[in-house]
């Protein structure tokens, strides 16, 4: 917990959190905040610059750009979060379970992770949508499957390291229950790492979602999304060269804030908790394992 508290004190992390809080509010209430109907077309005023009636101008169908940006935040951000939630579920549970795997099963599960990591996000999501039907949930499930290895690896590494920590063993000897140890000792240690991974996964997922919506995958065209707006602007670069900058800036801001936050959490971690340097093995555990290996 102290790691997250230290993080929250760093100025960079505060800025990032503020940006993310704004984005989250927009994602949940964006449609209500929009000054005009994001789908209403006004063919008399297409491709206009900023004005009193349209603060950020209009697009090629005369729709209000500001309203579309606000209304599109929800679909763009919440779908990215859906993919990350799926990835967490698919990664954390097998990651914890994999501590109990034998050598052969471990090897296979690590190769499965490698297999998932060789698949490019967009192509796999396109394939999933082509086979399962064009829907956002299909695309996000595909994305979640490909993001799961991030969580699997992190959880597995942490669980392997902590399972043989001396203080865990001491707690066990004193009669602590498995769930209490998980909650008090292991979860608090794993939390910062999971937080970093989640922030990275969200950033990756957001980039992938904007690529997919740019291609028109998962979302039907009239619904506004950041990626879809970029696709619409592409045909009118000669008239409105600055138009793609607006959705692009929102994507950049959100992804940048997530990356900065992840870095801040990592910097706040004490040096000995850096990945790879797990706690020392205890004599009893080692003996126990050697005994198991001999059997």
């Amino acid at each position: 917990m102290s790691v997250l508290r230290t993080t929250a004190r760093a100025p960079i992390a505060r800025t990032a959190l503020a940006v993310l809080a704004v984005v989250a509010v927009l994602a949940l209430t964006g449609g209500l905040l929009a000054p005009l109907d994001p789908l209403a077309q006004d063919t008399a005023r297409i491709l206009q610059g900023p004005s009193g009636a349209h603060l950020l101008g209009t697009d090629y169908l005369g729709r209000d750009v500001l309203s579309r940006l606000l209304a599109g935040t929800g679909l763009s951000v919440l779908t990215a979060a859906e993919a990350v939630a799926a990835a967490m579920l698919l990664g954390v549970v097998p990651g914890l379970a994999s501590v109990r795997f034998g050598a052969a099963l471990s090897w296979i599960s690590l190769r499965a992770v490698d297999a998932l990591m060789t698949l490019p996000f967009t192509l796999f999501a396109i394939a999933a949508v082509g086979v399962l039907g064009n829907g956002l949930h299909q695309a996000m499930l595909a994305l979640g499957v490909l993001l799961a290895p991030l969580f699997f690896r992190v959880t597995r590494a942490a669980a392997l390291g902590l399972d043989r920590a001396q203080y865990v063993e001491a707690a066990e000897l004193m009669g602590a229950s498995r769930s209490w140890i998980l909650r008090v000792h292991i979860w608090r240690k794993v939390l910062p790492t999971v937080a970093v991974t989640t922030a990275h996964a969200l950033a990756t997922s957001l980039l992938a979602v904007s690529s997919l919506t740019f291609l028109g995958i998962g979302v039907q065209p009239p619904a506004p999304t950041w990626g879809g707006m970029l696709a619409g602007d592409l045909g009118f670069l000669a008239q409105q060269p600055w138009a793609p900058a607006l959705p692009a800036a929102l994507i950049m801001l959100t992804v940048g804030a997530l990356n900065l936050l992840a870095d801040a959490v990592r910097d706040a971690e004490p040096a000995d908790a850096v990945r790879g340097a797990g706690p020392a093995d205890t004599a009893v555990r080692k003996e126990h394992r050697d005994g198991l290996a001999a059997v």
Binding site: I108, R111, A115, M117, L119, F121, G130, M252
Partner: protein, 347 residues
């Protein structure tokens, strides 16, 4: 030689002999791992088709398909056999270069892919060259001027590039170079074999858009490992022996610092291919992603599976090349699988 001269140390085989002895075993392990990964990916690719309710009759005939049509076409494409048998014959044929026929056009999938793949490979190849050149130069410059103005500029640019999807960079490049300055075409393609100069005109912008993200990753990685390597004793020693800055850098430090950057380069290959999907759409290139997008719209399962499998094969071959490169740079890295430095973000 030093092993012989050093007192009290047992005689050991030279580094070359040790390297030679270890090579086949590691190579075997890596190949076994790669083969397993390919099998698992192919299983996933096949399962994707198996769980769908898409069928050739619906893809080719649409709403007008009768149950008799469905049964006939299912039989024609071998879909009435048990799944393990289907998977086995699909995989065996795929390894022989036969990926089946499109449900929609009945054109062999392998033909469509071999027409589209050179577009992606040539552009991804150019993107790799650009990424190495730009990232290498920027990373080296930043490390040499560690803490200075160049270093801060490179770090800032890399951070910004990391937050941008490849297609946003592509749109920016089109706006600037193609629409405003009219220097290069904004889309289209000419095969390399027909006219290399024209190919370069059309391929340069997409390749640049694809490469910038990878270049940023390489620059960041190279910078941090170069900064570390320049502080090592052997680097100081080389300077003290009077070697020129250039020779210290090229002959000693860069070779040792390049390992992690090569790993990042290898990880960027799936990203380059993934990014190619969107870049192809923006620049209107007749590549493998356009093929896959069209197939996805038509629920043309054999084409979808074929493109995915070929992509996996390309990525795995690239990974093997990276492993070989790492081995050539530093045999000690081969004790375990190389740590895939950094995160797999931005694919």
């Amino acid at each position: 030689m030093s092993a012989v001269l050093a007192p009290g140390r047992p005689l050991r085989a030279g580094p070359l002999a040790r390297r030679a002895a270890r090579a086949p075993r590691t190579a075997g392990r890596i190949l076994a791992g790669t083969a397993t990964v390919f099998l698992l990916s192919s299983l996933l690719t096949f399962a994707l088709g198996a769980v769908s309710d898409a069928n050739p009759a619906a893809a080719a005939l649409g709403e007008t398909a009768t149950p008799a049509d469905i049964a006939r076409l299912d039989h024609e494409f071998g879909l009435d056999r048990p799944l393990p048998a289907q998977y086995g014959s699909w995989l065996v044929h795929a390894l022989g270069g036969d990926l089946g026929r499109s449900w929609f056009t009945t054109v062999p999938v392998a033909d469509s892919i071999s027409a589209a793949l050179p577009v992606d490979l040539s552009i991804a190849g150019l993107a790799l060259v650009l990424a190495v050149a730009l990232g290498g130069a920027a990373g080296t410059a930043a490390a040499l001027g560690h803490g200075g103005r160049v270093d801060r500029a490179v770090t800032a640019v890399c951070t910004v590039l990391g937050t941008l999807p490849a297609f946003v960079i592509a749109i920016g490049l089109i706006t600037l170079v193609a629409v405003q300055l009219r220097l290069l075409p904004s889309g289209g393609y000419v095969p390399f074999g027909r006219n290399p100069a024209q190919w370069l005109r059309f391929a340069f912008l997409p390749a640049l858009a694809l490469s910038l993200d990878a270049a940023a990753g390489i620059a960041r990685q190279l910078r941090s490992s170069l900064v570390g390597a320049l502080r090592e004793n052997y680097a100081t020693g080389a300077v003290m022996r009077g070697l020129s800055r250039r020779r210290v850098l090229l002959g000693h430090v860069l070779r040792n610092a390049a390992g992690p950057a090569v790993t990042v380069l290898g990880m960027s290959v799936p990203m380059l291919i993934g990014g190619a999907v969107v870049t192809e759409r923006i620049f209107n290139l007749p590549g493998i992603a356009q093929l896959s997008l069209r197939a996805a719209e038509q629920h043309d399962v054999p084409v979808i599976q074929g493109t995915l499998l070929v992509t996996v094969a390309v990525v795995l071959i690239a990974n093997l090349a990276v492993d070989a490169g790492l081995y050539a740079l530093n045999p000690a890295a081969r004790r375990g699988r190389p740590a895939r430095a950094g995160q797999e973000a931005d694919r």
